[in-house]
Amino acid sequence: MTVQLALLASSFLGELWTYLQDYGSELAAGLRRTIQISAIAIVGAFFIGLVLGAARAHRIPVVSQLAAVYVEIIRNTPILVQIFFLYFGLATLGAREVLGTGVTVDFRLDAFTVAWLSVMIWGGAFNTENFRAGFEAVPTRYREAGFALGFGRLATFLNVTLPIGGRIALPSSINTYISVLKNTSLLYAIAYPELTTTALQINALTLQTVETFTVLAIAYLAIVWTMSAGIRLLERQLALPEERR
């Protein structure tokens, strides 16, 4: 029984090895696109979250309300529907002038644009909430101390609210980045050749289902688990002095 199991395992490992030799480079290209899209979206989501989160926390008129509408729309609708809307829905508008401004915009976005744009918009909305909560958690007396020292509103934000609130928001924002990366798999729906799409295409061609999903699952878990481990490390590194244990 043990021998049989060992033989079965070693033969599977052999098949997995051949599979990787045959399709490894294609899968690596898919993985690269997943990481590329995620990286663009994460950087974008960071800045969206930073600016809109600050506007929400400091109740900057108009911007704060618009940010709230943006956040509620994105958080309360499924990201897959957002992807469909951006890719299939907007395309029906074609190339047209925007509301008499004289600027012609082509609404037929290509798969790559929709890929990074959709996950960035989604991540930005969640990150706005992360940063808003972080900035609001900074005690008012810290900001008052900043004002008392003669800092202006912007200087107080950059020197007091951002370093403290940013640290508070960091773990939840990294969780959002992990979700952004996982959500890139949904780009399968618009056939953007990231990791999941590539793996499924290889599967349709070879029917090597077990090998395909073993590689796919391990790839995602490796990235996601590394990022979660990173959260815990960073949390300890960036903890505020009085919290450090």
Partner: protein
């Protein structure tokens, strides 16, 4: 008000077929996630390494994988392993959502159970409750209070994630919308923008009150 002719059959199909299936998958996924998640989360508080390592692994795997990949594994991989494990698209999606949802509930339950003071355990033991009775009648009812806001949040996420079933062709709301877009395109009219916007509106109308409720419960109960 006169609506264009194409709207009424599209809306009827999407609501009667699509929304019904969406709500059905959501209900099954919520119930399954809750039962499995609360059980695993409570068991996770026992200090017995093989058990907690196994549950930890379950949680980290199903939380770590994109739900789409989980659903693909159930829909494509399981039938390849054994013909008896062939599921319909709706069932495969529900199972995928339960695996993911139960991992979320387990993690939340563990935190809620740990937050109950040790004295409650001791008092229950003093009254003669065994481990099961102590947790079922004393600890969990108190932990549920803390669990309620994340559970409402989970329901919102489950409802939104049912759309992932579209990818394997399950006739939930997004899929029925897509079918109608294709039918109309075939007839020479393109209404993708209106139909996908309508899908977003329906999800918003369901989710928004629930996220408000979750935020309210969070303020009230914690």
């Amino acid at each position: 008000m006169n609506l264009p002719d194409w709207i009424s059959p599209v809306a009827r199909y999407m609501l009667e077929e699509g929304l019904r299936n969406t709500l059905q998958i959501s209900a099954i996924a919520l119930i399954g996630s809750t039962i499995i998640g609360i059980t695993l989360g409570t068991l996770l508080t026992i200090r017995f390494l093989p058990l907690s390592a196994a549950i930890r692994f379950y949680i980290e795997v199903w939380r770590g994988l994109p739900i789409l990949v989980t659903i693909f594994i159930i829909f494509f991989l399981l039938p390849a392993l054994s013909p008896t494990l062939r599921f319909s698209a709706l069932t495969a999606a529900a199972i995928g959502l339960i695996l993911w949802g139960s991992a979320q509930v387990a993690e939340a339950t563990r935190g809620a159970v740990i937050s109950i003071p040790r004295e409650q355990h001791e008092a229950a033991s003093a009254l003669g409750f065994g481990w099961v009775g102590r947790h079922a009648f004393v600890i969990l009812p108190q932990a549920l209070r803390r669990l309620l806001p994340p559970m409402v949040g989970l329901l919102v996420n489950i409802i939104q994630n049912t759309t992932i079933a579209q990818v394997i062709g399950a006739a939930e709301l997004l899929e029925t919308g897509e079918r109608q877009v294709e039918r109309l395109t075939f007839e020479g009219q393109n209404h993708a923008l209106e139909i996908y916007a309508a899908v977003m509106v329906v999800f918003f109308l369901i989710s928004f009150p629930l996220t408000r409720l979750a935020a309210y419960l969070e303020r009230r109960l914690v």
